[in-house]
Symmetry: C2
Subunit: 239 residues, 2 copies
């Protein structure tokens, strides 16, 4: 079942199993740059998690994305990202600083949304919460997971440490929950060394980096299976 919601003006969507009653583990999913809360991969993954595990899954439109911008603005963002990928331009300091600013804005939005969601009987506050977000979803998720004790496990990746972004390293150091981090050897916008440097900064005792060949948009499908098992290990056992 799919339910739209809005918290403090931020639009979100919640997926739950048909006919579900009572609390359950929740997975927060943050889309990537130029995407929105109902991007295809999120919808597919939400359906899978809901049907197979009975979890709830929630997504928000990030600042400057989805229903928070006009179609023309969203298209411009997508065009710019495609151009950056095609030209293999790594993140420059101005872009990295803007991403940090966007994350600072998004973190309280996610925390408010989590308050709201845990107030719903179909989610509740007695079960573990996971976070999934790669690329921009990692830039937003790292400070969120660092600050939010309700999140017990996170999937990150396709992101790294870049000049211009002053706050990501310290946020990563404050993340102590288990993480799985995906990285692409031939990422057009994230140098492998920058990704490894971010991975090294995480304070988590359990942290596992999965490195595959290919570009930013070519994460192999078996990684999605691995994310699923990662969440099953950390959400279902405790749930």
């Amino acid at each position: 079942m799919l339910m739209d919601f809005t918290v403090d003006g931020v639009p979100g969507v919640l997926w739950t199993p048909a006919g579900a009653t009572g609390g359950r583990p929740l997975v927060l999913m943050c889309h990537g740059r130029s995407q929105h809360k109902r991007a295809d991969p999120l919808v597919r993954r939400a359906a899978r998690y809901v049907e197979r595990y009975g979890w709830a899954v929630a997504a928000l439109d990030a600042p400057g994305h989805g229903d928070r911008v006009t179609t023309a603005e969203a298209t411009l963002t997508a065009v710019k990202l495609r151009r950056r990928l095609a030209e293999k331009r790594k993140l420059d300091p101005a872009t990295a600083a803007a991403a940090a600013q966007r994350a600072a804005e998004a973190v309280p939005e996610w925390r408010a949304a989590l308050d709201h969601l845990q107030g719903l009987p179909v989610v509740g506050d007695a079960h573990p919460v996971g976070y999934w977000g790669v690329s921009m979803g990692t830039r937003i998720g790292v400070p969120l997971v660092a600050e939010e004790p309700r999140i017990v496990a996170a999937v990150f990746g396709l992101a790294g440490l870049h000049p211009g972004d002053e706050t990501l390293p310290s946020a990563a150091a404050r993340v102590t929950v288990p993480i799985e981090f995906v990285l692409q050897s031939d990422d057009e916008i994230v140098e492998r060394e920058a990704g490894l440097a971010l991975f090294d900064r995480f304070g988590s005792r359990e942290k596992s980096l999965h490195l595959n060949p290919g570009g930013h948009l070519a994460t192999p499908s078996f990684e999605a299976e691995s994310w699923e098992r990662f969440f099953a290990r950390h959400l279902s056992a405790a749930g």
Copy 2:
């Protein structure tokens, strides 16, 4: 069921499901330095693969290991390895050259054993073959998988490119089957950069490196689960 065998003087062991008849996928497992064909982790993994998937699993004593040396010689090897780990001495050129020599000796032994095993009705030659071996098992496995077209998928890791070993890079380049490669960030004897350099050399289109914190002997247990799924993906589908 467990069956000891010897091919050209090399002792091996074959695990198969109780009462099994007819051919099945086969996983070859090569133990690490100072271990032997019935080292605890191999026995546990073999039992799991046999019971859960119905595969056959085979292990050999590597040159200079197991029943091919005296107890005193085996103890000396184990003491030397423990000392190297405790002193965090990376592989020196002489040790790397000796490992290359050992691998050159082991490859034809494995190929002869595979001929023998595929001649048994309970294995046969109509099903895919996988290879598992980390550390010394990778040094032996890389040239084996490079030369042996019957092996369709391999788990490697805890190994890297080192001065003194002239043949490993080109062997890795000739490996084209899917691989999963495990690496430890704090490995006492393999620098992370050496491991990444080896990973980069593999010719495989599907290759996935899993990097975790901890030392040479501290690979997390969830990696064993991942190996299992990797083999299930590549052996059972085709089998």
